[in-house]
Amino acid sequence: MTDILRVADLSAGYGPLGVLHNVDLTVRAGERVGIIGLNGHGKSTLLKAIAGLTGWQSGSIKLDGAEIGGTRSQGPGRYTHKIVRMGLALMPQGDALFHGLTVADHLDSGAYTPRAWRERKQRRERVLGIFPPLEKLLGQPVGRLSGGERRMVGLARGLMDDAKLLLVDEPSLGLAPKISKGLIEALMQIDIKNGAMVIAEQNLSLLEGKVSRLIGLHAGKLKGGAAAPETVLTPHTHHHHH
């Protein structure tokens, strides 16, 4: 079994502020991992560091064996597009959407490899199968959508290409409980094939019993379960892991 993500001794932050301190984390193919922590403890920074979006960072990050980390003291986002092209999809907090562009434009923009761009129509159908409410909104500018609809657009955009690693930052943030649950269900339906998914979430109850592993993040350090398990646990065999 291969490691999709292998983070070793990762520290990261912004300016003089250190947020993550010597974090180690391994995620294997086929796993869905939940990272649970309160606001301000470094969940978003961990996901952003993997995408190269923090102010500075040091330590090793391997995506399917290829090094995407290293030491960087400036230029947030400078290498992000290359990391994305190596197989990373980050659905960030605040969604990072393009407010004047339509839902259809967003889905197309997610198809960045030449193959995905050629197949963008079929892929759009597949993604609309996961998020059916978007079907009717395809021609709408995203700035006019509700919070829940925007979150769906952000997630759907990240599913248009064949990412090996899906990072989802707080899918429930700012949404009504019922909509949050629906989104988590949709995330669980996604066929990750030989890839992996990491979901950062404040609300433990949303992920409990649904993911392969839950890891706590407190004050910039991971607590328990951060090493890869011997075998990948699926929710069917293991309901209360934490």
Binding site: A51, L53, H81, V84, L97, F98, G100, L101, D105, Y112
Partner: protein, 292 residues
């Protein structure tokens, strides 16, 4: 005042200023850079077209192509000097403003050095004749200018709408971080933007040089007018830039006919002051979500 003549002059000027303003507007909203060197691109393209007319052929296609290609190369040069080394450094908007201003000044001096102070004239690529439509008369160069800029504008807009690269530019105009997350490389996209907008300035230079001479600092007035149009339209908005170009072109033709050419800049600046007092984000402030 002949209303028909006025309308034709308005559209001719609007199409030329629209080319420059759209370039300035797209560069600002996708790269966050005010390109003060757009006027330099304009002047260089004029000389590129002139060199082609002197050495290769005075055929209209050759002259236009030479101007457009020179513009694209000048755009790439500006991008390589003012954007690539600076964009991820602190205080980028101010630094790039100064860098492009420096390119504009140095570039003008270089042109003066190479080509000398004597102005050059381009061949009349559309000929001297007139089209007669009913009782109305339209000169070849006005009709040619309108058709050429409309073709380039429509091609650019269709490319922005349909191609992957165009989608990337539109995405970057709205949210650079989101664009990086869908695999958009800032540097290569920036160079594409600089080359396309440079080509637009290049075409504007060839078209405007049908009536004005080419000189090392010929780009200054078009730059000012392009900026006025881009600002009045709302930086970053294609629709706003086109509407503002028509208004500015109208004001210019009315002022030139009614008061005299020397008052054109005065009425244009009064107009933009009035627009910005009422709508600080320009005409398109409400039409689209432009970069703030």
């Amino acid at each position: 005042m002949d209303p028909y003549y006025l309308a034709l002059t308005t559209i001719t000027l609007a199409s030329i200023y629209g080319l420059l303003a759209l370039g300035i507007s797209i560069i600002w909203s996708s790269l966050g850079m005010i390109n003060m060197a757009q006027g330099f691109t304009f002047a260089v393209s004029g000389y590129g077209a002139w060199l082609a007319a002197q050495n290769i052929s005075t055929n209209g296609f050759v002259v236009v192509a030479a101007g457009v290609i020179t513009g694209a190369l000048a755009g790439a040069l500006i991008g390589g000097i003012a954007f690539i080394p600076l964009y991820d450094k602190p205080n980028f908007p101010l630094r790039s403003l100064i860098a492009t201003l420096a390119i504009s000044l140095m570039g003008g001096q270089c042109l003066l050095w190479v080509f000398g102070p004597r102005v050059k004239a381009l061949p009349k690529i559309f000929g001297f004749g007139n089209y007669h439509i009913g009782s109305a008369v339209a000169s070849h160069d006005k009709v040619g200018s309108i058709v050429c800029s409309a073709i380039l504008l429509l091609m650019t807009l269709a490319w922005m709408k349909r191609s992957r690269r165009g989608l990337e530019i539109r995405a970057m105009m709205q949210n650079p971080e989101g664009a990086a997350l869908v695999g958009v490389g800032l540097r290569s996209t920036a160079m594409a933007v600089m080359m396309v907008t440079g080509a637009m300035a290049g075409l504007a230079a060839v078209l405007l040089s049908q009536n004005y001479f080419i000189s090392p600092f010929a780009g200054t007035t078009p730059l000012v007018k392009g900026m006025v149009v881009a600002l009045a339209g709302g930086l970053g908005s294609v629709a706003g830039a086109l509407i503002a170009a028509i208004l500015i072109g109208f004001i210019e033709s009315v002022t030139a006919v009614g008061l005299g050419g020397q008052y054109v800049l005065i009425t244009q600046f009064l107009f933009i002051i009035a627009v910005l007092l009422v709508r600080p984000r320009g005409i398109a402030g409400m039409i689209e979500h432009a970069r703030e």
